[in-house]
Symmetry: C2
Subunit: 250 residues, 2 copies
Amino acid sequence: MNEPVIQLPEPLGSGKRGGRGALSGAATQRVERPAPLREAVHTALIELIINGTLQPGQHLVELELAQYLGVSRQPVREALQRLQTEGWVDLRPAQGAFVHTPTEEEADQLLSVRSVLETHSARLAADRATEEQIARLWELQREGEALVEADDPEGVTAANAKLHAYITQISGNAVLAEHIALVERRVRWYYRPIARPRGHDAWNEHAELIKAIAAHDADLASMIMNRHTERTRQAYHDQRVAEASAEQQT
Amino acid sequence: MNEPVIQLPEPLGSGKRGGRGALSGAATQRVERPAPLREAVHTALIELIINGTLQPGQHLVELELAQYLGVSRQPVREALQRLQTEGWVDLRPAQGAFVHTPTEEEADQLLSVRSVLETHSARLAADRATEEQIARLWELQREGEALVEADDPEGVTAANAKLHAYITQISGNAVLAEHIALVERRVRWYYRPIARPRGHDAWNEHAELIKAIAAHDADLASMIMNRHTERTRQAYHDQRVAEASAEQQT
DNA sequence: CTGTTCCATACTGCATACAGTCTACAGCGT
DNA sequence: ACGCTGTAGACTGTATGCAGTATGGAACAG
């Protein structure tokens, strides 16, 4: 009825019935549990949603996904469960899974929550950062700046995520990190249609932030991060508005 | 091997094979989707974990749970998936589900995250609260105070949760509400062993908070909520310390 | 031509079946 | 006595089967 016409690099459950990963033989010293198929399916589906292969609102038929990914319905269902709690799909009883449709309001709320969490993370990071970690921050900063110069939006986005993730790591609060990661991925998705990341100014703000962390000035770091994330949120807003008015003129 | 010896009020999937809820017949105008079994299982398991029937570290054997709840392994597995992403259980590949073991560190991190989120929620609520909502807040406040007077710890805890939840609702940020709810339930669990909620002083703080919200003073409301949640965190800490030293003397 | 009813089909939700892996214990060797 | 190896049982991970419901379209009435 529908026609996904989606291409997969490799069939996830590669032939073998037992479905154990290809690396079963390599008996490295570590116990190295073979990752269950559901994990792979989960990852694959997020990727498909983020890159737009699976469009918002689209009905995800379990059997189709299963065949496409080369597994049975079972792992697919389990992955869908998790995707629902993470906000990627909506499970409507007796109807199945639908790719979640992000609303403008929800995007704003996500950015707001992210702002709060990241601000707290910056505060904690300023308290705890070691010299070594600060050095690493400057390293990430230089990498980011280089990518801005090279005008590589994809790279800049990745570098940005990396820097923020590292700050979160420094903060030493795993629960906080989990929640940020959850929000972060969804933001990245919502954000995608209007992709173009902020350039020089964002990274200037990063530099300020790192300075504050290096000085262990928690209040300042927190303040800068708050301003930083709120600006991203504003940029999102402006873009939407611009988009809307552009649409009017068409 | 193990002996859960747990008693269930009623068999979840009550006989009927199709497993549809008992309210299938009542054809009210609304479409009233029959809630899937996995939902019921999910709720039931959280309850069992919170009330201590399922102890931290315990191995959850799917078949046992299934039989106990009167369903098959399938809905149990799906519920476990969700429980994992929500932090209630750990799924070890090829070994199964184990009730998550809360560490002291993790509890502190959760309280910290909750504090940040609730603080933000209070700020937003102060901005948006309507007269009607404020009236409702005072109502909840009175209920809570009454329960404190009546020395009903269970009731106080519930009233507390209700008040906080309502503030979150007023804030109008659904994403924020989700995250708070996620953290909240785990906190309640971790907190349980040292249950006794703070009494009068907590509710005095609530009153101050509601006043600030009623005055639409976002900064003040935010400040009060921050102090309030941090105190709860401190209370948790003190209790742990007291416990530890008490144990020493034994 | 429009609106309604009925039916076929597709898909979900749940249950069951099967294959592979982990664990513990018995038996053997040292 | 102690450690190693082999084997049986238990449990997970995955696949398949089955019943019930939602949906779209055809047939029919107005």
